[in-house]
């Protein structure tokens, strides 16, 4: 870490749709860099000392909860774990994540999107007996490798980076996107979910689903959790192609 502290220049898109007549403008804020400074720290500093109206979302500030995705110098990423030292020029341009309803400034409504996604892919274990399980008895066994494999697919934090990086999504409003395909792959891998391939086909067997994906892989490049999106999408596509 360099001991010399720089002055960083933040270019931030400001727009509050709640205020009638407000229009999007880029504003510049200068912040004195500190060792180990993240964009989370810098934005709070701006809010505190320069502009209390600045909107953004952080919760865990540890790269765990997925709240803080934004476009940082052209690339979607989690702002809380992005160190300012990563940018040698000291210029940092921040835009809200595209593809989601804007709440204001850097805050977008990923929650609404993700709930709709979960409802669409029916993001839960489908098993008529799940609620009649005798909780006193030993749990159903699962191969340790299968458990690990499911977990690998469940590490998605619904941050939305993949959606913002997806060309298909930009052209097709209804496209499910990598996050939804991934979620479905997670349930397709889970032996506890009794859905058949035909059932999954009903959900993703069209151009708004797995067949719409152009495999340009913006999603994989920007997924902050390094999920195996490419492999899983390809796998789903093969599986679905076999259904009909």
């Amino acid at each position: 870490m360099s001991e010399k502290e720089r002055i960083l220049k933040f270019h931030i898109l400001r727009y509050n749709p709640q205020i009638k007549g407000d229009t999007p403008t880029m504003k510049i804020y200068e912040v004195q860099e500190a060792p180990g400074m993240t964009i989370f720290i810098a934005l709070n500093d701006i809010r505190e000392k320069q502009d209390p109206s600045l909107q953004f979302d952080f919760i865990c500030r540890a790269g765990i909860c997925g709240s803080c995705a934004m476009i940082i110098n052209g690339q979607p990423d989690l702002a809380c774990r992005t160190l300012t030292s990563k940018f040698p020029e000291g210029e940092i341009k921040l835009l809200p994540l595209p593809g989601f309803e804007l709440i204001g400034d850097l805050s977008v409504n990923t929650g609404k999107f993700m709930r709709a996604m979960s409802e669409r892919v029916e993001s839960w274990i489908h098993d008529q007996d799940a609620d009649n399980v005798d909780l006193d008895r030993l749990e159903e066994r699962m191969d340790p490798d299968v458990a690990d494999e499911i977990y690998e697919l469940e590490r998605c934090v619904e941050c939305g980076c993949c959606i913002s990086a997806c060309a298909t999504k930009r052209m097709r409003e209804g496209f499910l996107g990598a996050v939804g395909l991934m979620r479905l792959a997670r349930y397709a891998t889970d032996p506890r979910d009794k859905r058949s391939n035909e059932d999954f086909y009903e959900i993703i067997g069209d151009d708004d689903g797995v067949f719409g994906c152009m495999t340009l892989l913006g999603c994989q490049d920007y997924c902050p959790k390094d999920l195996p999106l490419q492999i899983q999408i390809a796998y789903l596509r093969r599986k679905m192609a076999m259904v009909r």
Partner: protein, 656 residues
């Protein structure tokens, strides 16, 4: 006036809140969950380490059962917990985890055969039983006799919360996001819902319900450095306090976790030490065995945090521009293990410290972590003084943690409490039809409207952010790991002053819709009140118990202090909370107070302790044939909802 009606209103969409909502929904009652943001982003998702439940499937968990879990929990609490509740908890935890398994949590499983683990700094091979293959496995955690902490690789809380929220979505439970409860509606000792602010439009909405459950998590952000999320500000506890009718229990019981990274306070899980990681000082020396020869790094959290602080005070800390710290060494666990079971830790080290924990030591320091105190409830989760108000999870003082909670017992509590309290919420909905006068709703609505209006109108005054920072610093410096009369007296005075100043908050940004400064203006006075409850409770409690360590009163004093602090704020115009005390009844304890087995035992005993021990001895002698279940029933008869009363099966042991 916008009013939303439901049967069961749940404030908070973390593990506890969602589980209560699911219980009420499954019993046929409409439930609405409120959350500051999407439920899946709740702080529950940050729990990496694991969930305790005595399944005993792993070979290192052999011999575990509810009784051992109970003993660990009560000891861990330094006998400050409610033993009925601890019993209800340990008996239900195995069911909770099994239910979550059915709902989709990919718990890590036992793999038959040999496996290398690190115990006490040494590589050891353990052999998992053939017949346990595929059952839920567990890891070691501090303060537990057995390996009992079940986990999913490095993302336990994440997978639990996702499974829980997905279940809620399956049941069609609405989660109203970006909605903040800012006051409770109540009259004559009955709660009818909450006044809620839409954080996008700024609109105030009344949510009116038969039952209101607060499940808003901890209040770590009263401190300047904490492992907690930015939104763990305790507003749910504060609005309960502000009713003047409900009370907060044991607010002075605040836990510091031994290993958060320096300086930002992000947690590295207890799993690091559970899996064999060591604590080292500036000389690279492993120091914990000198202080705690038996449990070493895996002593209870409060103990390890104090020992670390002591060691730093002896000049053994590693100096840094952010003050002294110690090292956490997980290099001995090896790359494969770290990348699988401690990957989140690795990511945190890489992103926030720029180091590789496979090769380098991690700079750590004890940091505020968990709030044992909270809204005082009885065993059913209901406030004893405000009917229809329930609380569950970290925001509640249901009181299974007393003065120190064990790692892994918190996410377990959220789910178990959610299951149990959820049933009682449904019972209440069943027997209490909603009867409320709109005038009452209007009264509370107007009150909140006027407060906000006044803040927006004021042309000069205090900055809410500045007040908050001052409060956080006072708490950090004077109400921390070690406490004493002089510091606490000062803290109480200074907080009182802040409280007065908080009546005069002024905003630079004067819009009533989405406005982060207004959010602070609403929250900060509430947070200061909570801080006052913590500091004042700590000042008056003249003993050391669990996480509450008084340098001037180092002994645990059962004779005078085997009681729970209850904080009320009965009059809005007061500048201090009113404290009352509730005795813990030794004569009803299944496990009368004893020694936790750390350091020298200088407990001042309660006069009833010996009496109760003799009585228990007599009961045992009189019932020589009683099995452990019958014995528990004799010593600590508890009531659980019908569906959770069954015995739990374990491998190799059946239902015994």
């Amino acid at each position: 006036m916008k009013v939303v009606y439901t049967d069961s209103l749940i404030i908070g969409g973390g593990l506890a809140g969602l589980r209560v909502a699911i219980a009420a929904r499954q019993r046929g009652y409409d439930s609405i969950v409120l959350s500051l943001m999407p439920a899946k982003r709740s702080h529950s998702s940050a729990a990496q380490g694991g969930m305790q439940a005595s399944l005993g499937a792993s070979v290192k968990g052999e011999g575990d059962d509810e009784d051992v879990h109970f003993e660990d929990t009560v000891k861990g609490s330094d006998w400050g917990c409610d033993q009925d509740v601890a019993r209800m908890f340990v008996n239900t935890a195995p069911k909770a985890i099994r239910q979550l398994a059915a709902w989709g949590v990919p718990w890590s499983r036992v793999r038959r055969g040999n496996r290398e683990v690190v115990i006490n700094g040494e590589k050891v091979t353990i052999t998992e039983k053939n017949e346990a293959h595929g059952l839920i496995t567990a890891r070691d955690f501090g303060g537990t006799k057995k390996w009992r902490t079940c986990f999913t690789s490095d993302g336990t809380g994440h997978t639990m919360l996702y499974a829980m929220d997905n279940k809620a979505i399956e049941l069609g439970i609405p989660v109203h996001e970006r909605k903040e409860a800012i006051a409770l509606i109540h009259e004559d000792g009955v709660c009818y819902g909450a006044i809620v602010r839409d954080m996008i439009t700024g609109e105030l909405i009344a949510y009116v319900a038969r039952t209101t459950t607060v499940a808003t998590g901890g209040y770590g952000r009263l401190y300047s450095v904490t492992t907690n999320a930015v939104i763990s500000e305790g507003i749910g506890c504060a609005i309960a306090l502000e009713t003047g009718v409900a009370s907060l229990g044991n607010m002075e019981a605040v836990q510091f976790h031994p290993t958060a990274i320096v300086p930002v306070g992000i947690l590295t899980t207890e799993g690091c030490r559970g899996d064999g990681g060591l604590l080292l000082d500036k000389d690279g020396k492993r120091f914990m065995p000198d202080y705690e020869p038996e449990k070493k790094e895996l002593a209870s959290r409060d103990v390890v945090s104090r020992r670390m602080t002591e060691h730093i005070r002896k000049g053994k800390g590693v100096p840094s521009r952010y003050g002294d710290h110690l090292w956490l060494d997980i290099t001995l666990l090896g790359r494969a293990h770290i990348e699988k079971n401690l990957r989140e830790v690795k990511e945190i080290c890489e992103y926030f410290l720029g180091i590789d924990p496979v090769k380098e030591y991690i700079p750590v320091r004890p940091t505020q972590h968990y709030s044992m105190g909270g809204i005082r409830t009885g065993a059913t989760g209901e406030s004893p003084t405000l009917k229809g108000l329930f609380a569950a999870g970290e925001c509640a003082c249901w009181d299974m943690h007393g003065f120190n909670r064990l790692g892994g017992n918190s996410v377990a509590e959220t789910v178990v409490a959610g299951m149990i309290v959820g049933e009682y919420v449904a019972d209440y909905c069943q027997t209490n039809p909603l009867r409320i006068d709109t005038k009452l709703i209007e009264h509370f609505m107007d009150k909140e409207k006027n407060k906000i209006r006044a803040v927006l109108k004021r042309s000069k005054g205090e900055s809410p952010i500045a007040l908050k920072k001052e409060m956080q610093q006072i708490m950090m410096d004077k109400v921390g790991i070690f406490r004493n009369e002089a510091d606490l007296t000062q803290a109480v005075e200074e907080l009182k002053d802040l409280h007065q100043r908080s009546r005069n908050i002024f905003l630079r940004n004067k819009i009533s819709s989405s406005n982060p400064e207004l959010v602070e203006a609403i929250r900060v006075p509430k947070m200061i009140r909570l801080a006052q409850c913590v500091a004042y409770g700590a000042l008056l409690r003249k003993e050391s118990r669990g996480a509450h360590a008084r340098e001037d009163y180092p002994e645990r004093n059962d004779r005078d202090w085997l009681k729970r602090t209850l904080a009320y704020w009965k009059d809005e115009n007061e500048d201090l909370p009113q404290l009352e005390y509730e005795d813990l009844d030794v004569m009803k304890m299944e496990m009368p107070p004893g020694s936790r087995g750390y350091g020298a035992d200088n407990t001042i005993h309660h006069p009833d302790t010996e009496k109760r021990m003799a009585e228990i001895e007599d009961i045992r002698k009189a019932n020589p044939k009683a099995d452990r279940f019958e014995m528990q029933q004799l010593l600590n008869p508890i009531e659980l909802p019908e569906k959770f009363r069954g015995k739990n099966e374990r491998i190799g042991r059946g239902f015994n």
